[in-house]
Symmetry: D2
Subunit: 366 residues, 4 copies
C-alpha cells in the first residue's frame, strides 16, 4: 500500500480540488480500499452545488465505485456474506453505514440509519481523509457493508452496484415485486435500466415509461417488456391514463425513479387498487406536489419510500450481475474519464451528455 494518496474534495460550492493525504490504517472492523473505478451519480451533481444536507464543502466527492482490499483491520477476515477476504480482492462497499446504535437501526430500518453518513460527512482534513470514492483510496468504516465482486463481473460493471443497482433492487423488494406482477418503472435512466432488469428477473411484466423516449430502448435491452413514451400525453392526467391503459387498469407496482415531485402523485394514481407505489426518485425536500388523499384512500394503495438500502442488498446485487452476465452491464457507463478529469466528468453528467460517467482510477484490467 502506497504511503500517500489523492482525492477530490469539494473545496467550496461548485469548486473541486485534488488533495493529497497519508493513507491511514483501517479502523478496527473496517478496511482500506485502493480504488479501481468510480462513477458519477446524479447526487454528485447536487453535492457539487451544495445541496446535500451533510456532504458539505470540505468533504470528499464520490460514492459509487469499486476497488481492491489494500489493508484489513485485525478482526476482519470475511466479507459480509461470510466469504473469506484477503488483500487484493476486488470489493464494493456501501457508501453509508448502519450503525446499529440508533432508533432507526434498532427498529429494523438500517437503510435509514441516522448515522448513515458518519464517514462521508467527515471533512477530508480529519480522521481517515479518504471518505469518498473519487480518490486513489477509500476508508471503509466498521459498519459499512463490504462484498467481494464475483469473478464473472467486470469492474466496469460492478462500479454501479453500490448505488444504482442496489437502490432499485431494494425498491423491487419493498414493492413486493413477484411473479406475474405488472410493474411500471417510471424513468429509464441508469436506475430505470437496472430496475427493468431486476423486476423482469423476478418474473414481472415490466412497463418502462419515460419523457425522454430515446432512453427507452436500453431499458428494453435490459428486460423491460413494454416501452411507454410519455411525451404522447398532454399532461399529468394524460400520463396517468396512458399508464393505466397499458397495464389494464393500473399496475400492481409502480416504481417512481424520476425525481419530479408531480410524478409522485401520478405514480399513486397509476397504481391499481390495492397495489404498491415505491418512491425512490424524489429525494430533495421542499419541493411540493398536489395530492388527493380522498382518491388515494378509496383505492387502498400503499405508498412506500426506498432511501438507500439494507446493507445485505449489495451482496444480492452483485450476485444478480453475475447471474445476468448476458446483459450489457458495462454499457451503463457510457464514457470514461481519467481521475484528473473529475470536474469534466461531473460537468458531462450535469449536461446530460452522458448517462453515467465513469472515472478510471487504477483499472489494472483495462
Amino acid at each position: 500500500m502506497s504511503a500517500t494518496g489523492s482525492l477530490t474534495v469539494l473545496a467550496d460550492v461548485d469548486s473541486l480540488e485534488v488533495r493529497e493525504y497519508p493513507v491511514p490504517e483501517p479502523v478496527e472492523g473496517g478496511l482500506i480500499m485502493e480504488m479501481i473505478r468510480a462513477n458519477v451519480c446524479g447526487s454528485d451533481v447536487h453535492i457539487l452545488h451544495g445541496h446535500h444536507p451533510l456532504v458539505r464543502p470540505g468533504r470528499v466527492m464520490g460514492h459509487e465505485g469499486i476497488g481492491r482490499v489494500a489493508r484489513l483491520s485485525a478482526s476482519v477476515s470475511t466479507d459480509w456474506a461470510g466469504q473469506p477476504l484477503a488483500e487484493g480482492d476486488r470489493i464494493v462497499a456501501t457508501y453509508f453505514q448502519a450503525c446499529h446504535r440508533c432508533p432507526e437501526c434498532n427498529n429494523g430500518h438500517p437503510n435509514i440509519c441516522r448515522n448513515a453518513y458518519t464517514g462521508w460527512s467527515t471533512p477530508a482534513e480529519e480522521g481517515q481523509h479518504f471518505y469518498g470514492t473519487f480518490g486513489t483510496h477509500y476508508a471503509v468504516g466498521a459498519q459499512q457493508g463490504v462484498y467481494k465482486v464475483p469473478e464473472a463481473v467486470s469492474s466496469k460493471a460492478a462500479a454501479a452496484a453500490n448505488c444504482a443497482l442496489s437502490q432499485v433492487y431494494f425498491g423491487c423488494r419493498l414493492g413486493e415485486v413477484s411473479y406475474g406482477d405488472k410493474v411500471v418503472v417510471l424513468g429509464a435512466g441508469g436506475l430505470g435500466v437496472c430496475a427493468s432488469a431486476v423486476a423482469s428477473a423476478m418474473g414481472a411484466e415490466v412497463f418502462v415509461a419515460e419523457m425522454v423516449p430515446g432512453r427507452l430502448a436500453k431499458a428494453q435491452e435490459f428486460g423491460a417488456h413494454h416501452a411507454i413514451d410519455l411525451t404522447q400525453a398532454d399532461d399529468g392526467d394524460g400520463r396517468v391514463e396512458l399508464l393505466r391503459e397499458a397495464t389494464g387498469g393500473g399496475a400492481d407496482v409502480v416504481i417512481d425513479l424520476t425525481g419530479v415531485p408531480s410524478a409522485f402523485s401520478e405514480s399513486v394514481r397509476s397504481t391499481r387498487s390495492g397495489g404498491i407505489m415505491v418512491e425512490i426518485g424524489n429525494i430533495s425536500p421542499n419541493k411540493y406536489t398536489e395530492f388527493d388523499p380522498g382518491l388515494f384512500t378509496r383505492t387502498g394503495v400503499q405508498i412506500r419510500a426506498a432511501i438507500r438500502y439494507p446493507v445485505e442488498v449489495l451482496g444480492r446485487a452483485l450476485t444478480f450481475m453475475a447471474d445476468t452476465a448476458h446483459l450489457p452491464w458495462e454499457s451503463l457507463v457510457d464514457r470514461d474519464f481519467t481521475v484528473d478529469q473529475v470536474p469534466e466528468a461531473v460537468a458531462a453528467a450535469e449536461a446530460k451528455e452522458v448517462t453515467r460517467a465513469g472515472i478510471v482510477i487504477n483499472d489494472g484490467e483495462s
Copy 2:
C-alpha cells in the same frame, strides 16, 4: 315476519321520504333482518346532499345498525364465524359485500371489492327494497358478512360495530399497531374514540389529538393515554411539531381520521422514520393538499389507506366490545331518535348537536 315494512328513501338530493314495501324472501346465501337500531354516521350526511358516487337519489338511507334474524335462506345455518344462527338472533352485517368475483377480491383486498355496493346502490323500487338500515327490515345479500352479537353487548353498543369500530379496528391492523408502539389517533370523534380503545387494547401508548379539545376527554375514557390539544399550535407546522414532541420524535403509527386533506401531509410528517401512517378520514376525492415527496422519501415512512374492512373484522369488533364491557360503549350514541325522526336525526348530526345520533327502530330491550 310481517308482510310489509317501511324504510327511509333519499327521494332526491336533500329530500327524505318514508316508503312501504313488501318484505321479500332472502336471496340464497343471504337473510332478512328486522332492524333494532340504526345510527347516523357522517357519510349519511354526505349521501343526503348527493355526494356519494353510488348511493344516489332513489336509494335507501342508512348503513350502521343492528337487528334480528327474521328469515334465513336455505343454505345459511351459521354466521360467518361458524356460530349457529337462528331466527330471532341479534346480528350485525357488513354494509357492503366482498363479491369474490372481481380483481380486487381476487388480489386479496376484499375491502375494496369493486362490487361492494351492489346492494346499497340498488334503487328502493327494485329487487329486495330493504337495502339500507333506516327501515324496519334489512335485506342481507349472499356475500355480506353476518355476525351474531354476544350476549354481553347491548344493542345500543353494537349498533356502531359495523362501521365506526370495524373501520378503525382494520386501521389498527393495517398500521401493524403492536405492544409498545406510540400511536397518534388524529381526531377524537366516534372513530377516534373507538381507535383509542382498540390501539390501547393492543398494547400501544395512545396519543389522541384534536382541534376540538372538548372531545378529548371521551377518547381518554376509552383508553387514550395522552390528549393533545391541537388548537395550541398556530398552523400545520406547529401541529406537526406538537405531535413529534409529544411522541419523542414521531409516532410509530399515525391514524388520520379527520377528513381534512392537509391532515394527510401533517400525519405523514408526524410519523417517525420508518413508521406507518394510516389514512382513513379522507374519503372525498378532488380535495387536494400540498405534499413533499422528497421529505417523505428521506423518512422511509409507509402510507396505507383503509377503506371499509375485510369482512371478518366485524366479528372481531364484536368480540372486542364483549371483552371491553367495562367501557361505556353505549355513550357513543349521545341522543336517540324514533324511526319517524330520521330527518331530525340527520340534521342533528350535520349540525354537530350530537356526536352520533341513534335511531330506535324496534328495541325490545329498552
Copy 3:
C-alpha cells in the same frame, strides 16, 4: 344442455359404477359445467380404496378437470377474476369451496375451510348429483372458484390446473420463493414437474431430487436447473447430505412433495438455517417419522403446510400456463382414456404405468 348425464360413482370400496342422473339447474351463485376432460390424480386411487375421510362410498369420483359453462345461475356473470362468463366458455373450477362461514375462512385461511368438501362429500343420489369430474357434467357450488381458461392454453394442458399446478403454485408462495433463492423440489412426479416450472419462473435456482431417477429429466425440461439422484445415498442422512452439499449448506426453501413421512424430517434438515420448509406431499395422518426438535430449534427454520390453496391461486395458475406456453404442458398427461375406461385409467395410475392418466369426456378439440 342435455337432460341427463352420466358419472362414475364409488359404489363401494374398490368398486366403481357408472350412473345416470338428470342434469340439475345450478344453485344460485354457482353453475353447471359440461366436462371436456378429467385427470386421475393420486388421491383418486386413495379414494377408490376407501381412504379419504369424506369422499366415501356413494360419492362421485374425480376432481381434476376442465369443462365448458353449460348453465349459469342468475347472479353469475363473471368468473372469479372478474372476466365476463358466458355459456360455452371453457373453465376450470376449484374442487373444493371456501365457505366464508367457518373459523378457518374467518381467520384468513380459505384453503383449510372446514366445509371445503360440502359438495364432493354429498352422495351422488342427493342434491345435484354431479359432484365429481369423472362424468359428463359437473355442478359448481356458489363458493367454488371458477376461472376462464385462456385461449393459449389447450384443454389437455388446463386439465391439471385445478389440482397439481395450483397446489404447488400455492406452495411456492407459502415458501416465499423469490429471485435468487435456492429451492429444493423433493419429488419429480406431476407436482414436482409443476413446482420446477413455477419456482424457476419466480427466479429461483431449482434443485429437483428423486428416488426414481428416470423422472428427473422431465422436471429439468420444465425448468429445474439441477437434478439430484437420491438413490446415490445410502439412507436419510446421506440424502440430507447430498441436498445440503448441492445447495451449498442447505436450501432457502425445500418443498416436500413425496408423501413419505421420513421425507418430512429430511426436508427440514436440508433447509438452511432460517429457511422455509413447505410440506405438501404428506396428507395421510397416522404415519409417523422420528423428528429432532432440538436440532430444529437451533436452525431457526420455519415449517409450513400447504393443503389445497386459496381460490384465487387457480386463476394465477392458468395465467402461468398461458405465459409459459413454450413448456410441454400437455405432456403431463401421458396417456388418454375414454370416459368408459375410468377403472382402467385409475388402475394404470395405481400401477404407475402412467404418470397422469387423462380421461377424454367431450373434447371437441381433439
Copy 4:
C-alpha cells in the same frame, strides 16, 4: 476501574474454579462492565456437565446478568437504542453477538448468527478473559447489543432481561401474538412466567399449562388468565385434548418452553388449524419425538423456532419491565447467593431447590 478481577471458570466437566485476571481495555466498538448481579439459567447447568457445543472446559461461566459501564471504547457514546451512555450507567448486554458478516446475519436472521459465541467460546486464558457473567467484570464485544436499564427497573429484576425475558419476547413476536389471540404457554418456569406477562400485555388470552401444578400460580400472577394442570391427563393424547378443549378447538399460538421432545408434537397438535407453534424449549439435538406429518399438513399450521433473539429485542424487554413495574419481577429470583457461592447456586438450580438463583456480585443498591 480496578486493575484485576475474578471470574468462575469451567476448569473441567463438573468442575468450577475461581481465577483472577487483569481487567482489559475494551475492544474498539465494545466496552467493559463491572458486574452487579448474575443469574443461574438452566443452560448453565448443561454447560457445567459439558453439554454445550461451544462453551467447553476452559471457558467462563454465566450469561444472564446486569452491570455498570466501567470503560467505553472510543467509538461508543450511546447504547443500541441511541441513548447516551456513560461510565457508571447500569446496562445489560446480549450474551451473544450478531456479527453481520455471516450468511445467517446477511439473510436477516441475526439471532442465528453463526459467530454468535465468538466471545463466550474464547478460553478464559485468552483475549479479554471476562467472557462470562459469573465474575467481577464482563467484556462486551463490538457486535454485542447493549442497553441502558431504565431507572424504574431494579438490578435484581433486570438481571433476567438478557436471556429469559428477551427469549420469550422474541417468541411472542415470532408467533405473531396479537390482540384477541388465545395463546398457550407450555411450561410455567421462569420462561413461562415471562411469556405469560408478555403475551397478556400484547392483548392475548393466555393459557399456561404445566406438569408441575405448583408453578401455575406465579404465571397467573404475571398475567396468565387460565391455568391448566397437565397432570390431570393420562398421556400425550390427553394433554392435547385438555389444551384443545380449554382453547375451544386449539390455540391461535402455542409456545413450547418445556424442553421435552414429545412436547413438540403435542404443541403442534394443540394449535388450531392455521395457527402458529413456536418452539423454544427444545434446544438439545439428538433427542427424538414421533411426528405425524400427514396430520400436520391437513391443519395448515406453521412451526417456527426461536433461538436467541434479534439484538434489539433486549431493549424492548427492558422497556417492557419498566412499563409493567407493578409485576413482582424481582420474585423471579427466589434465592440470592454470594459470588463465592457459584457452585452452590448452580447445584441449587440443578436440584430445582430454586427456580432462578441470583448471584450478588456488587450490588451497591442492596
